[in-house]
Amino acid sequence: MFATIFKRELMLVYRRRSEWVHPLAFFVIVVSLFPLGLTPGPQTLKLIAPGIIWVSALLASLLSLEHLFRSDYEDGALEQFVLLPYPLAAVGLAKVLAHWCVTGLSLCIASPMLGIALNLPSDSLKVLMLSLLLGTFSLSLIGAIGAALTVGLGRGGVLIALLILPLYVPVLIFGAGAVDLSAHGLDASGQLYFLAALLILALTLAPFAIAAAIKVSLE
């Protein structure tokens, strides 16, 4: 059942290309806007790069989440999921996982290129990718709660940002912190472990919150 829903979601995202191309393009453009606006030297650029890349990834992930439950809500598929004799939390997890496999992974894959553009040392690119790999999945899980809560509200765009951005803070701190440490030639494994811990926390708790939020939204 999990695999069936997962596959269906992948197929749907694949056919709605704008859903993952737009956040990815947004990510690349926002990151490249900062150097243009700040006109920093190579040293300053290296200092601010982790923060820029991470904040942009966070916003791109938020942007992509709005569509997560929207179309299922509008065409009634969400109702049918609720009525299945199958835990709604697992349905939610399958949807988020499929969504992340497309949007989160594409951000991860694009990030080294942006890291080089922002003068990050090549050693820290690995940490950048790893931190985004762990971090964006947590962001997707946490953000899905907000998406599920606001799906019934027609225009949830800004509200979801207000609800979810504060919850993104820990992931941002450890994610950008890891890249920052490694850019200074220090060991970042401590921060990465924290990201992994946050991911496990989100993975175990978020599906239940998502299920409860979907039920409330459908009422």
């Binding site: 069936t4 065409d75 009634g76 109702e79 009525l83 299945l84 009422e219």
Partner: protein
């Protein structure tokens, strides 16, 4: 088609709704709605627009909560009955089809999640006369074709209780005939039907066998 359970020889109603009341905002939609549904019966919920027909159906399938009262399935409250989820099927206003998938892909997905036999799909497609549009994207279907595809889920699911919200909207005369035949067959197989509809049935069998529940 519908599995006959051994425990309903007792004559007890399968679905029992007790004193259901519902408030939306500060408006009372309906109060003290009572009805019982035995095997082989059809209840037709009637009432003007905005009288709470859809809400009543959504309460009965546990998508919304009532202000007071409860619905029981084989004696258990529906919100705690796993059996209810395995034995009921709901088709609402929205059809639950993904526009980006073809009709057949949609139905195949539904048959997988409903644990239905995929081999029955061609027959069901034939029965609902969907052959001509089975490879079209669901987004390109007409409203009537979408409705037929949504109703195909009922046949896939093989559930005892059908809860249908306006199943005839957008269907042509021929489509209505097909759906009414399905309903007749379902009742003959001792299935239960709870539906809302603004139109009268064309079939005399259904007209004679329906019970009306009027919300005002």
């Amino acid at each position: 088609m519908v599995p006959i359970e051994t425990d309903d020889v007792s004559g007890k109603p399968c679905l029992q709704v007790d004193n259901l009341s519902c408030v939306r905002g500060d408006r009372l939609l309906f109060k003290d709605v009572n009805f019982k549904l035995h095997r082989g019966e059809l209840v037709h919920v009637a009432g003007p627009n905005g009288s709470g027909k859809t809400t009543l159906l959504r309460i009965v399938c546990n998508l919304t909560w009532p202000e007071s009262g409860q619905a029981l399935w084989r004696g258990e409250p529906i919100n705690r009955s796993e059996r209810f989820q395995r034995e009921s099927a709901y088709i609402g206003h929205q059809d639950g089809l993904k526009s980006e998938l073809s009709t057949l892909e949609n139905l195949r997905f539904h048959s997988r999640v409903l644990n239905a036999d995929v081999r029955r799909l061609p027959t069901i497609v034939q029965q609902l006369e969907l052959n001509r549009c089975q490879y079209l994207l669901a987004g390109k279907l007409s409203a009537g074709q979408r409705r037929r595809a949504a109703l195909a889920r009922l046949l896939l699911a093989e559930r005892v209780l059908w809860i249908l919200d306006e199943p005839f909207t957008a269907l042509d005369r021929n489509g209505r005939q097909v759906v009414e035949n399905l309903l007749e067959q379902h009742l003959e197989n001792r299935g239960l039907v709870l539906l809302t509809s603004h139109q009268a049935f064309m079939s005399t069998h259904l007209t004679n066998h329906r019970r009306e529940l009027s919300l005002s």
